[in-house]
């Protein structure tokens, strides 16, 4: 399948992600922020799809947009709106934020230039996985090469789950 209008979709999805990100930090209403975050996550899923990584995109939608954000909303909804409206927002220190943003931007630019130079030097191109076997490749890496790291990460998550249960429950 040949990709259609790739640059258009790239810029569309990127701008949606950026828009979502900006909305997340500027909305006063926490629920609106959470919804904007979902927009960002979905746009990112779209970008993954464009990178021929459909599995990652699917997982992004299921886990982040469908799972974690629902739980976020679950908690946020219980907080009364009036209270959150009155609360002081933490995004007043815009000078420090600006400095950090500029620094990060500079870093990105530097990496981009440097890698471009490297590519030109060695004639390298980013690895392009065939679309059809991408999911299988991930499986091979996850359960083959990086098995140990994967299992350790799952253990870590298990500990986190137990910790959350302990914290949330008064009596066990």
């Amino acid at each position: 399948m040949t990709p259609v209008a790739t640059p258009f979709f790239f810029y569309l999805l990127s701008s949606l992600a950026l828009l979502g990100g900006i909305l997340v930090i500027t909305r006063k209403n926490a629920v609106h922020s959470a919804l904007a975050l979902i927009l960002t996550l979905l746009a990112l899923a779209g970008l993954y799809l464009m990178l021929y990584a459909p599995f990652v995109a699917g997982v992004q939608i299921i886990l982040y947009a469908g799972g974690i954000m629902v739980l976020f909303l679950f908690v946020i909804m219980l907080v009364s709106i009036e209270k959150s409206q009155r609360e002081e927002q933490f995004n007043k220190q815009w000078i420090a934020g600006l400095v950090a943003a500029v620094a990060l931007g500079a870093l990105f630019v530097r990496v981009f230039v440097k890698s471009k130079a490297l590519h030109d030097l060695a004639g390298m191109h980013p690895a392009q996985l065939p679309e059809q076997s991408n999911t299988q490749e991930i499986a091979v890496y996850l359960y083959g090469n990086y098995m140990l790291a994967f299992e350790i990460a799952s253990l870590l998550l298990l500990v986190a789950i137990i910790g959350a249960v302990v914290m949330a429950k008064k009596r066990i």
Partner: protein, 426 residues
Amino acid sequence: MLDYVTSYLKSNTTPGQAGNLLWAFIYIILIFLGLSVAVIAMNWLERKILAHMQVRLGPMRVGPHGLLQPIADAIKLLIKEDIMPAEADKSVFWIAPVLVVITAFTTFIVVPFGPTHAVTDMNIGVLFMLGVSSLSVLGIVMAGWASNSHYPLIGALRSSAQMVSYEIAMGLAVVAAVLMTSLHGVGLYGVAHGAVGDGTLSMIDIVKAQQDQHAWFIFKFFPLGLIAFFIFAVAMVAETNRAPFDLPEAESELTAGFHTEYSGFRWSLFFLAEYSAMIAVSSIAVTLWLGGWLRPFATWLTGETWDLVFSLFPAATFLLLALIAIVGTLRMPKHPYFRVQTIGLAGFAAVLALIGIVLLMPPVRDRIQDIYWFSLKVAGFMYLYIWYRGTFPRYRFDQLMRVGWKVLLPVGLGVLILTAIVGVLL
């Protein structure tokens, strides 16, 4: 241009994979129309079937046997005053039903009605369907929150907890089925068929795997496939918020749950989304366990005669429906008051008979068969949904959670592990 249009007809992939935008678009339109008709038909059938289960007649006034009732309802909903609560969060209130409908319809682009009858085939097909349908809970939560009222909020909380919980059991059952695609072990018919191969998440390939293995996955590794199917069948009812798991909209507790404050067109969007979500999850179940578009007894009743017999089924169904409609026409009261209705029913019978005759023609017959078997299986699930609703009381919230976490989840894990073990050993 004409070449572009006709070239696809000979191809053996979906328009999405062939990169044929025009046909993809045509398929999208067809699916959209088909779904709308299905939802309307579901509306009428649900009322009729439920009524007959409950010693009632159901709608009888609008059109013969109430056939036009759903259309009348749709018109009523469209021209109703659009009410938005004063204290509601306007934008979220507006987006919520739209989001629910979009997610419900988006899932259908990977539903395989036949080997080529799908908008596209993704290599993460099942994952895509689960992911997108899991987004619909966002719409419900948004609707409940934006209404700024207590009953919808409780409905939304219930719904989010319920859908997130049952998604896990559902996912485990799906993984068990996906695992089976890679395990070419001894099928039900004792035909060893290749070794352990690549699994697949693609909807079309899953059905093809069942075709190759000569076994629907519901019968594979008996009873493992059956148990996995059962888990999915329970979880999917919970996912779609239908009885007996209809707590988010439990009418006797929360008046109408998350859509209490919705009316008119917005409400009808929720209605549309609920029914298309039901069809969507049923499609997953059919694809994963019931052999998708494959006709029944494909391995036992083989040969050209049987192929012909089974290919006549779609036409036979429509002719039977036409016959029922004709009998209904003859049994209509002879009073002049019913004249219009009698003529209407006769016309309906004629349309059904016409469709049946068209379906008899060999080219149409062959192309339509897959879609017919798929739809028939989905319709079976729809009937089950109605049947549940007529039979079961509603679960309580803690019991629902208990069933989800303490029964379905462990059983699902067990089935998954056993499937892996059995698959490797056999």
